[in-house]
């Protein structure tokens, strides 16, 4: 699994539960190190050991933790860069949802060896969507749930999400857009990034 993903999990655990809990997780995982490097690649086994250890140390079901991770990725100032990259997807939530089809390609444009499984958005009715998350990354659907929820807040839209099970090997998230401009979203300034 790419170092960026492992590193994101590390940042989430360390900032939500504290550095010490993260060290405990990595001690239990027994990988021989405590810090993941964002620009290196780790084996799936290493990541799975870390995730299993995290579930035990935090004493919460993994899907729940991963959903929080997804929210963290969008809403935490530490990872503002990622939120900005997601916001480039569209000027409103629906446009953003449609941009998810391109997300794996966008990710690969940024980091050539970062492979995310395909995402497919199906519009069931106006304001009603299914997001199909293809297999390949354990917990992908859970993380996306958190991302979608936090992006709803980011755009100021009221969104109801439901992990509606599996379709073949894929996970399906159903998305209902209840109200656009429900709340004041967060500003997105194209030129805010300092070079």
């Amino acid at each position: 699994m790419h170092g960026l993903i492992n590193r994101a999990i590390q940042a989430f655990v360390a900032s939500t539960y504290g550095e010490e809990r993260w060290v405990t997780v990595m001690d239990l995982a027994g990988l021989g190190f405590t810090e993941f490097e964002a620009m290196l690649t780790y084996t799936d086994e290493q990541s799975e050991q870390m995730l299993a250890a995290m579930e035990r140390v935090l004493e919460r079901p993994l899907p729940e933790i991963l959903e929080d991770l997804g929210t963290f990725l969008v809403s935490n100032p530490q990872v503002e860069a990622l939120r900005r990259l997601l916001r480039f997807g569209g000027v409103n939530y629906v446009e953003f949802l449609h941009s998810l089809d391109d997300l794996p390609d966008r990710a690969r444009l940024a980091v050539a060896d970062l492979h995310l499984p395909p995402l497919e958005l199906v519009e069931q009715a106006p304001g009603q969507f299914d997001l199909i998350c293809q297999p390949g990354l354990p917990g992908y659907g859970s993380v996306m749930m958190g991302v979608l929820r936090a992006m709803g807040d980011d755009y100021g839209d009221l969104v109801i999400l439901d992990h509606s099970g599996e379709k073949g090997d894929a996970e399906v998230i159903s998305i209902t857009l209840v109200e656009s401009d429900f709340a004041e979203g967060r500003a997105f300034d194209l030129g805010a990034h300092s070079l």
Partner: protein, 335 residues
């Protein structure tokens, strides 16, 4: 035949940074994004050249010249600050009605987006500017992560080099390792000898046959020293052509004398390199721990071996001397 108003409305939708000029070079209308760059400017009726400075092609000075550039790439900038540079292309309107000029930011888009507070809605959906901004940010973030990794790796490399105990050219121990092992021998209380060896005529090999020949000689010398000593002894390269051998459990000068002579003899065997024979020799000086009062000091032992080595050098090189007390004064007197 569509009217200029219709054309302007169509252009607003497709190219929001367009300008329509009439045959006299006066602006008829401009697209919404272009207007946003100078919101207080009353565009209509202004001369195109009054607002923009055309830097390329330079020859175009009048509206007639400008229309002649049809299809070519235009480089221009605002006359007032911020003098954002723009790229453009002109298409003449039929029947000499003027021209439609479409503009874009080109590479200045990064500053423009900031200077004018532009949003996605200011760019046509087919315009790749937003994708480009995305890429710039994504790549900067990725580069920053890589840069951090490189910094950490470089730090780790320097730390590893500082902690290294091996001389990379010869594979022998280095001075750091020698100091470390000498300290251990002293604290363990075993009897040992310190032999300091310096190559003779090595500089000549380096100067006449080059550094590669010098390296070959050093590697051969290292091999000889390892072969002539026991596993438990420590052979270290402590300088360019200086070596120290620490020999454990040695009390007999006789044994050391024989070893030193064997080493010197083997080192004197010419080393073939690139069609030449490299000839060197060596001088050596030795001291024994049993000749010193306790507590032993590492620096004293190294110094004694050093003094003995220089006695060997002064006695004509290619030989071995033992240290004895008072040797320092003799050496000074002899100089």
């Amino acid at each position: 035949m569509i009217s200029l108003q219709d054309l302007s409305a169509i252009a607003d939708g497709l190219c929001p940074m367009h300008a329509l000029v009439d045959a006299s070079g006066r602006l008829q209308s401009v697209g919404p994004t272009l207007r946003k760059l100078r919101p207080d400017l009353d565009w209509e009726g202004k001369r195109f050249f009054r607002i923009f400075d055309l830097s390329r092609p330079r020859s175009a000075r009048s509206i007639e010249d400008l229309i002649q550039t049809a299809g070519a790439k235009l480089h221009l900038q605002f006359r007032d600050a911020p003098q954002t540079s723009l790229k453009g292309v002109l298409v003449p309107l039929p029947e000499g009605q003027g021209a439609l000029i479409n503009l874009s930011f080109g590479i200045s888009v990064l500053e423009a987006v900031r200077d004018y507070d532009l949003t996605s809605a200011d760019f046509s959906p087919t315009d790749l500017t937003i994708e480009m901004l995305y890429l710039v940010e994504a790549k900067s973030a990725a580069m920053e992560a890589s840069r951090q990794l490189n910094l950490r790796l470089q730090g780790a490399k320097i730390a590893a080099e500082e902690q290294a105990f091996t001389d990379t050219l010869t594979g022998l121990k280095n001075r750091r390792a020698m100091d470390h092992i000498l300290g251990r021998l002293i604290s363990r209380g075993t009897d040992f000898a310190v032999m300091h060896i310096d190559l003779d005529f090595f500089k000549a090999v380096n100067d006449t046959l080059g550094h590669a020949a010098g390296d070959a000689v050093l590697q051969n010398v290292a091999k000889v020293m390892v072969e002539c000593t026991r596993q438990s002894d420590t052979v270290a390269r402590v300088g360019g052509d200086e070596f120290v051998i620490l020999l454990e459990n040695v009390r007999q000068p006789k044994v050391l004398e024989a070893l030193a002579n064997r080493l010197i003899a083997r080192m004197e065997e010419p080393v073939p390199f690139g069609g030449h024979l490299c000839k060197i020799s060596a001088s050596a000086g030795t001291t024994l721990s049993i000749w010193n009062k306790h507590p032993l000091k590492a620096a004293d032992l190294v110094h004694q071996a050093d003094v003995a080595l220089y006695a060997a050098k002064h006695a004509g090189r290619s030989r071995h001397c033992f240290y004895h007390s008072g040797m320092e004064e003799e050496e000074l007197a002899g100089q």
